[in-house]
Symmetry: C2
Subunit: 385 residues, 2 copies
């Protein structure tokens, strides 16, 4: 059972939890040059977590990249009293898909985020106020360039693999395009090499909802109330795209939440309405609206074939092996996107395993379906050793 | 080519326009008892249009029911200078699917609407102010009961057929359930007999966006600014559900609207963003937010099997023949909904023709695909004669 986008511990069919972990951070003293031509001023910070041990040759490092609303906390608990583990806990730990008895796993919060890395809510260097509207828009390429700086600092020259679902998969693909020699394997899960009109539209509605919230004030809202209503609506739109018609029917059907009969009022009555309302409210407590703007824009700009001329050119310089996974009921990044990616990889001469997994869970499947995904991921990683 | 949900005249492959038509209205002097137990006070009004001539036996009447944002203006122009015809113009006219040389076609704006029929923006009887928050919530059953009163007034005892797409299809099915002897044929297009969690969720987000707009003021906003931002967001969410991934790719792909390169700003840049923004703005000029609330709630309450115990019981008392159409790329009311409806009709022993039409246009297909739909509709209607 999944609550929102966080699978609870009991879902794990494989291995053990990594236990209690801590988020660390690293600060860089020179600016980060951005694809837009702007720069992210120094000092800037990345929050990250690691699990397992780096081997002596530095050859067992795996970078996991998070999705839109994720963070560096992939697995384990921050304290023994935590009720929720990291967002991919069922996949990362001893004996799990990313086996921390064998691999050194790293995950960092993206730049532009709001979970420890420098983002719009961070204090702008040289001032005493948050960036707000002055935070530069970033790209998936910029997120990855920042991660490369983290790996440099950790002494990791080459990744055994880079993995991610959704926007995390975009970053994994970007790694192979931007740092072709630093990546041995790419796991691109429930993702695309090129954001399309539908995904841009869904993100755009979220941004419109935020910008039309009177508390938005152009992004400079940190001294007052935040644009909570706009961000909540954005999250609700997101959640619809993360579920499938079938998973919604399974979870909610037409069940009424509080009363046995229709109330004929404006208030939410159906369980699915209550769910969306809850998701909106809880997201507002943990996420910054400006980060939502910046990160969704980065996703919309993502277009590997557009950026490099073709997918073949984008992914033809790496020696990496690719694992491309999709899910039958995912309508946000459907299998057709994976097939387009796979076709490009084949044209580029890259070894690629492409698998469509049966799931009723929609896009959220990549967070939940550890049962079917674990053996596939484990075998793919073992083949890279 | 379709602009928003209105097909332009040139799409028609069959027949001729009905020419210039007028919307009329009829006012009822006794209250309408509603399914909720509330009543719609007298006087209340229905706006309607008719096309063609009622024959002497009164046996050639077809009622067309509109969808969420539709109105009584199905076909033709309101003046020779109009640039846009009615919303189903390609389907209604001499030689068209609903051939006005043979049939007398009627369409009325639903109660709760904002295009001439009594709705939340209407003056509440006994007061000098609009209903606003005091307008009673209605059901699809109430909309149909109001239409039955219109037919009574027009002297039409029995409909040759009742037809509609989307929420119009819900009304058509409701007709067969509530007035089993008054309907000869039912055309249920791109619709369902039972709103599911996904469609409720999409409607709920629209309502949340409206209610979180500070101008909403509980629905009593007519003396001040309207909740335009909330309604615009609701419409944008709607538009995403009316299109398909493929139709969005065909219309917009990743095309930039104004500049040749990314601008790295919060402003809309992609063509699909500009489209959604335009749809939101234009909807606000013609639609009332309270009507959006009331009508989407009516859709969410719609559940024929729940209301009657089963689909078999709901549709087993009519002698009507059924035509059930769906479209391959419609993910709002996909073919699975049509198949569930058809299964219920077969259990009820009703003659049913169920056809899935190939279209890339998503849910909007029912407004656009006159080329494939016209021969099917025409043949079905001819079989009812």
């Amino acid at each position: 059972m999944a609550i929102g986008d966080v699978p609870v511990v009991e879902t794990a069919q494989f291995g053990r939890s990594v236990g209690v972990v801590q988020t660390r951070s690293i600060t860089f003293d020179d600016p980060l040059e951005l694809e837009s031509g702007a720069r992210l001023a120094a000092p800037w910070t990345l929050a990250y977590e690691t699990y397992g041990q780096l081997d002596e040759r530095g050859s067992n490092a795996i970078l996991i990249c998070h999705a839109l609303s994720g963070d560096a906390h992939v697995a384990g608990l921050h304290s023994p009293l935590d009720t929720r583990p990291g967002w991919w806990d069922a996949f990362v730990g001893p004996g799990r898909a990313f086996d921390t008895d064998h691999y050194f796993v790293i995950c960092s919060n993206v730049i532009g985020g709001c979970a420890g890395s420098t983002g719009p809510a961070s204090v702008e260097p040289g001032t005493e106020r948050p960036y707000g509207s002055r935070f530069p828009f970033v790209t998936i390429g910029d997120m990855v360039a920042a991660q490369a700086r983290l790996l440099d600092a950790l002494g990791i020259e080459r990744l055994l693999a880079v993995a991610g679902g959704s926007m995390g998969g975009m970053q994994a693909l970007q790694w192979a395009a931007a740092y072709p020699e630093r990546v041995g394997g790419v796991l691109a899960i429930a993702t695309t090499a090129r954001s399309n009109a539908m995904t841009i539209a869904l993100n755009a509605i979220g941004r419109q909802a935020i910008m039309r919230d009177p508390n938005w004030r152009g992004g400079d809202y940190y001294s007052g109330p935040v644009p909570a209503d706009g961000l909540a609506i954005a999250r609700m739109v997101g959640h619809i795209s993360y579920l499938s018609e079938q998973s919604m029917a399974e979870k909610f059907d037409r069940r009424l939440q509080w009363r046995p009969a229709y109330q004929y009022t404006v208030e939410p009555e159906f369980a699915v309405e209550s769910y969306l309302d809850h998701q909106g409210r809880s997201f507002v407590r943990r996420f910054d609206a400006n980060s939502y703007m910046v990160i969704t824009k980065a996703m919309d700009y993502f277009d590997l074939p557009g950026r490099y001329g073709s997918l073949r050119r984008a992914l033809g310089r790496t020696g990496a092996h690719f694992l491309v996974l999709s899910f039958t009921s995912d309508w946000l990044y459907p299998t057709s996107e994976s097939l387009a990616l796979t076709a490009g990889l084949r044209q580029a001469g890259r070894p690629v395993i492409q698998i469509e997994l049966a799931s009723s869970k929609g896009h959220d499947a990549f967070l939940i379906e550890d049962g079917t995904m674990t053996p596939i991921i484990a075998e793919f990683l073992a083949g890279l050793d």
